[in-house]
Subunit: 675 residues, 3 copies
């Protein structure tokens, strides 16, 4: 487990580099990421390259016993290039062209930009192919940030048509697959298909899904172009990319297939402000939410089933959320440990020093603008020291898989049918319930091999093929335990309904069908009540949960066939008394289908019942903001609240979810102590 | 009174048609609407027509003793046509062109599209001119839906100039009529006048009104083009169009003049979510609001003073409102009876079967996606059975006319002067008060002959010509009773103020002038107090209403001349003590002018006083959500609430507003019983 | 002190002019502003001029002993001109062109429009060069209203490049000054620099500041073009311009340098609705806020250190705010007195008569549409009479300067880092605290000579040059008292951070550095607590303020060096106990640095301490809405509340902040009496 930092020597007088880099080494940092966004410095005019500054900075990094991680500079094509080849710019659906003046103003499908990308990547990688101090490369930066995955330019239109022709072969198959007889949306040829532009009414959901897939695939292809060139220059380098948190438009599993290592950028107090479901609490504003951050850790770890990196770790206050409150005391250390517990092998802080110029002046670094230590520096140094004992190769064992499906996300995003229906938030509702019982989770795609997991949670597996249904059925029949959430099995692979009841090909497995669904404004949301009587697995009988529990946003009225009823609606409305949650036994396993978006108490009851049935040892319910992780024989208790951790109602032994030695680490906002 | 359903055979395998159509007949349905949006199926390539599927479907409908209602497919020009003649597309004020990919992407003034429209309408109508199973035609679908009445393309610019030249003759008359000396807005010729595009500040209100009128007239002209062609093909057919609910940009009276029958599309639980003033209550989310729906019933019935059709009746959950809660039990039957009570001759449910593909997958049908009965099916079948006793030709008698004026709506929309000033909501405030006393209402244009009405309510007759003022004065002088609302008589026909005090040419009739007006944010709204002492008609003395009543949004300070004061302001502000409501006697009739937007208690007091003066028998005040209707000797008590109907404070006899036999029908959310 | 009115004879039949103008004179009005927006009447076709109407109106004004103030008509180029030279139109960042149909649809940098401007201004000024009845000219109208200061057209792009080349000389200096190495934003030449258009992420803050300065300078240049032509025609005329209230994009100090007299347009009940921080109270909705209006009075008076005019005084209800409540009784008189107290030499009401046509029909005048007196007429007449005693040349003495810096405003607007961070609102927080102690204020630019002020308040002097820091240090060293607010001294002149701690070059003066800053959402805002113990100046010891006081939005953690701590944070968060306000003694003066946005109690405590230290006599804290002003030996107590003024807790003598005779004027909403 190592630490590092992101550094921009080009922003500082060269006479300060030695001091800066020495201070990094002093703090125990081992990696220095550089050259991101540096195209304008590397090639001030076409063909005129200046590598001297970077040569020198890499040398200094090596001199201090650290390694450089370099970035291709493609996230910021310079103005001369944009002016010379204006077609590289992204276009919005209404034709607005995104101009130079910030970053990410290029189109992934631009043929001109792919040429320029190849040219610059070849040039910078060949330059450092022999360097003993360069460990590997990050491609570009945060693909898709600032809503840039989906572009609507002419190059994209062409590429989309090619992508469609490859996928569907002939236009009649596309018309059939999407169902274009509806509203006279048939196409006569692939040439007739445009990117989805401004229309009077909503778009065809199958067309939207196709465009979402195409756009994500375009990034995959663009990343592969870079990865191949990097490996060509020096096969010993690792290739990585820094993904974003809770990022909805890019399939990270697909991009990761071309990487040696997955990295992502973690900004806990920013994420709770700008991509969180609900208003952040004071504690969350100071330290973020461990489940929100943890689910990304688990997703990116699971992408290659391999330790990941945090390429950018929040170092203090940041500039881009609505507000920039100061993180709680020790938060920068807490986040590093939390990442380690979730399987990180390196945590690099972003950035070394508060920048004097440009868009990120309100983004802290480990050092202040004047070069003196900022709040994060001591945290980072302490974390580096504490990490010395950890082996970076340790695997994180997770008995539970949460199935995360970008296709389902995109399909539901095209048809949410409730303004507050957010796929990610629904995933977090189930994910957090498992994590709240101290149990570790892999976040895997539907294509993953599930056989190694004792239990599987699929919160909203919206698109289900026959093949996937078969695999899930085999899993359960072989003794697996599955918990499904609402809106599962609704669509086929092309975002069309099937001429059957829901959950479609999973109906036999679930032992029930969905009679009706409804989305509910807040004033209609109410509760479900636990069904009386014994259950075949005893799962609900002894969970101590209250007999009533609330839900939100979505409700399905279930018609059980083979399944038993677990919860029924307790509402002032036509659903009253109808089954809301059912359970079914198939072969050696069992499956529960939850037809509502559960509030935390219900999610916990369902999760703990699942864990119990699966024979997974689980803890008493942890307080909000407190989570447990274990890896390589160490246990972390991470406290994201401002309260000193007492865990009054929790038996310390119940936290020992692993047999390893316990090495509790606590880094609470106000310096809570070990428990 | 008949029932029917909308069917899209082209969305289903032909081997299922027989089963589907037989099930329709089984439910007692008598009309099947088809061919809407079917251009792409009817003419997959230019000049290549395929009528076989529709021939077969019509035959099957006839075989089962039902009649087909066909639709011209012009709401969805196919992609090949859009690509061939791109000028048909609508344009937004900022130049954004609305593209293919949903529906209604054509311009009503496009010369190219009028040619194509004539071509396809001729072709499909000639095809079925001899069919014994086709009862009539619906032109297009929901003209203007998705904000498509007003387009800003070059064809529209040309058409607007022609429309202006026709209306004003020469440009100086236009400059004079609008008052273009203001801010140097004079035009030198009609060629200089553009559609209203993006401007730094707000537009000239007279120009906006002209554009609203022109745009509505364009639809009238476009509909007439179709209606004429349909009648040419077979003069025995009826021609109808399905209007939308609470639809503000199209003058339905004008379009209706070219129709044989008016139809509209009723979605009660959608309307309370997306076009309702205020947050919908749980009851309204389950069954809609009877006054919101009822006012459209009455408007569309009054348009031709003839029974109307509900061409699309909500069948269950629908896809387009923010949320899609399930309707209450029996709601689909309730709505059909409510329509019948208001004068419908047919109710067609939309749609037969939940569609597997495209934009409306989240829209229920009478049958589920798998073809089995959905919640609405039993409701529809029961309504069909119950309707057997009703004669479809029965007239609805209404002693009260509410004057609804699209020109006033457009003028107020251009100058609301309070963000929450909504013409339709103000109309509903007065309309609901009359309906809340069990009294039936016609909703008529200002041009209507009022002589048959015992009372007239004009909630905001903003544009008043001398001629209209004379007609209203004659009506009152002849014994009519009138209730005016605020903002009446403010403008001339061109949306200009008159150089007189308000209500302009109605001042003598009202017997008072408006000294001041003000719009009020919520925290300034307060109350009016009933004036003490006897009144000349005793109207307020015995109404039992509280002496104080609240108002909202708008307040006028009245200066009575001949009129008596009925209410004065009771506020903490400069209006305190000033007259707010006055009454005047003219000839044999009387007129009340209400200078505020009344809250329900005040609206009820004013309405009941009006009914009393007019000698109209009225009921005790009905509970919210409960309404009474009578037609052809039958009385309906419709309960839109989730509560069983007890009507505790209401004497059953008081509901007998008609001398006919009572045939109370109740279809409450939870199965309330007859009362 | 004189009064006047704005009149549009071209909107009325000429036979009514005599009556109208006579009624003006009857009310004691002495100025009549005319010809604004009249281009279309003056030149209906190119080269065809019609001055007859204006000749006649001026003559009538003179006949009645009044003087005309004329306006150049350039705010509304007529349609024929726009059609002939379409390049004059403004363009939005996304390319949308702003069209004819309202006003201000021209670009300040349009070369075509500058030609046309010169042509029309020469023509109209030469026409009246000999008139004995024309006192002076207003250039255009409300430069920049409707967000028109910043245009993005091709002419602007060219002009921006020239402006940059003038400012920076060569492109490397620009790159260095802005810090364009960040995100590869370097330019190779001035030709590469565009106006800031649509980009994926936020813009470079230095580029935004440059564009804001350039755009403001463009208006300065455009105004100078007009002012020069007016003076050329008749050097005896005064030249003025009517600025807007609380107007953020135009540097009024810079424009004023080319004027003889500054004027502005005051709409108190509009401003509290559409440009006020927070929801307006009922009193504010009826009479506006005296500090909001007062700060503009003081700013525009300070611009030339000379009595100003209110060129448009609200006459009653107005059309453009969200709501148009009626002003309280006497409000139109109150505002005139308030303006007089703040140094106005003339108050002209806008407008004479409610207009029958166009966009301002819902804007009251002193007369109603029918020509009879409206609510404001009696107020205006009474004010005219009362003003007879006042000498218009009287100077307003202000012992305190508030430093208002448009560059800081623009810099903070580019990087607010809290959605609710509004520069103007923060200025008002400090300004209102000084005014709340009955003390008069000049609102001056950073370049002002401060030597005459006993105390200086700089609420957020964000951009601080070394030179400015030296001047402030000299001021304090020489005995001056300074109060700084948060976010002071953060940036250099180009909107870049300095490689030092904040407040940058003011750090020695302040005797403390900013360790951290944070912006806070509402749920994290809390309080500061007064430091215990004696202070060197005794300033806080006897102020009677509560020991705790709340703050909002922004917090800085201070590290005092030479300074003493005055307040520390009292929060549940990492700032707890850290210094929030410090004070330092330098030479003969002292400086206080307040690191938070103070709520009113804290602002009052800081302001009264400042006044005490500076030896400025100040009043007991005045109630909200009540303010005191004095000028030329008269004292005004202006009451903007609806309550009769009792001032129960205030010793009348404490109001005597001047030794002059007291001539208290009260014009409360409900007719409160003198106190
Ligand atoms: Zn593209
Ligand atoms: Zn058009
Ligand atoms: Zn421009």
């Amino acid at each position: 487990m190592r630490t590092g930092v992101c550094y921009f020597p080009e922003h500082w007088p060269s006479e300060e580099w030695e001091r800066d880099i020495a201070a990094m080494a002093d703090a125990g940092l081992e990696y220095v990421r550089m050259a991101e966004f540096s195209w304008g410095v590397l090639e001030p005019e076409r063909g005129e390259f200046d590598f001297g500054w970077l040569d020198e900075a890499i040398e200094l990094v090596g001199d201090h016993g650290m390694e450089a991680v370099l970035c291709t500079p493609t996230a910021t094509p310079p103005k001369w290039l944009v002016d010379e080849r204006p077609s590289i710019r992204q276009e919005e659906p209404d034709g607005t062209v995104r101009q130079h003046g910030s970053r990410r103003h290029y189109c992934f499908n631009s043929t001109a930009y792919r040429e320029e990308t190849a040219r610059i990547v070849e040039r910078v990688t060949e330059r450092y192919a022999d360097s003993p101090h360069v460990a590997g490369w990050q491609t570009d930066n945060e693909f898709g940030c600032h809503r840039t995955v989906r572009c609507y330019c002419d190059d994209c239109a062409e590429a989309f048509r090619t992508w469609l022709a490859d996928r569907y072969g002939d236009i009649d198959r596309l018309n059939e697959a999407w169902g274009n007889a509806f509203w006279s949306q048939q196409y006569g040829s692939f040439e007739e298909v445009d990117p989805p532009g401004p229309t009077p009414a909503e778009h065809h959901p199958s067309r939207l899904l196709a465009y979402a897939r195409f756009a994500s695939d375009s990034v995959v292809e663009y990343n592969r172009l870079q990865a191949d060139l990097i490996r060509e220059a020096d096969p010993n380098w690792f290739v990585t990319h820094n993904f974003m948190g809770r990022f909805p438009t890019l399939n990270a599993y697909d991009v990761s297939a071309d990487l040696d290592r997955v990295a992502w950028d973690s900004y806990p107090t920013g994420f709770v402000q700008d991509r969180y479901d609900g208003e952040a609490s004071p504690d969350q504003l100071r330290a973020g939410d461990p489940d929100q951050v943890g689910m990304d850790h688990d997703l990116y770890r699971s992408a290659l089933d391999r330790p990941f990196w945090v390429m950018e770790q929040q170092p203090g206050d940041v500039n881009w959320p609505p507000h920039c409150p100061q993180p709680g005391e020790g938060a920068m250390r807490l986040w590093a440990h939390h990442a380690a517990a979730h399987g990180a092998d390196a945590v690099l802080y972003f950035r070394w020093r508060r920048c004097l110029e440009g868009q990120e002046q309100y983004h802290a670094g480990l050092r202040k603008a004047d070069g003196s230590p900022d709040r994060g520096y001591a945290d980072a140094a302490r974390a580096s020291e504490e990490f010395a004992a950890l082996d970076s190769a340790d695997h994180v064992d997770a008995p539970v898989a949460v199935v995360f499906d970008y296709d389902s996300l995109w399909a539901l995003d095209a048809q949410p049918h409730a303004p507050e229906f957010d796929y990610w938030a629904l995933q977090e509702a189930f994910y957090g319930a498992v994590r709240g019982r101290g149990v570790q989770v892999d976040v895997v795609p539907p294509s993953a091999d599930l056989s190694g997991y004792a239990a599987v949670v699929a919160p909203a597996l919206h698109l289900v093929t026959e093949d996937l249904a078969d695999r899930l059925t085999d899993y359960v029949a072989g003794g697996g335990e599955v918990l499904f959430g609402p809106r599962t099995g609704v669509k086929d692979a092309e975002n069309k309904l099937r001429p059957t009841s829901q959950p479609g090909p999973l109906t036999d497995l679930v032992g029930a069908a969905v009679d009706q669904h409804e989305s509910l404004p807040r004033r209609l949301e109410t509760a479900v009540r636990r069904a009386d009587g014994p259950t075949d697995d005893g799962s609900d009988a002894d969970d101590g949960a209250a007999p009533s529990a609330s839900f939100r946003t979505w409700a399905e009225w279930l018609d059980p066939d083979a399944a038993e009823v677990r919860y029924t609606y307790e509402v002032d409305g036509p659903a009253d008394g109808r089954p809301a949650v059912v359970a079914n036994a198939v072969g050696d396993g069992r499956v529960t289908y939850c037809g509502v978006w559960p509030d935390p108490d219900l999610a916990d009851a369902l999760a703990s019942a699942l864990l119990g049935r699966a024979g997974i040892r689980y803890a008493d319910r942890l307080p909000d903001g407190v989570r447990v992780g274990y890896r390589g024989g160490h246990t972390w208790v991470t406290n994201f609240t401002g309260d000193r951790l007492r865990l009054p109602g929790i038996d310390p032994d119940s936290l020992a979810v692993d047999d390893a030695d316990r090495d509790a680490v606590d880094a609470a906002g106000d310096g809570g102590e070990d428990s």
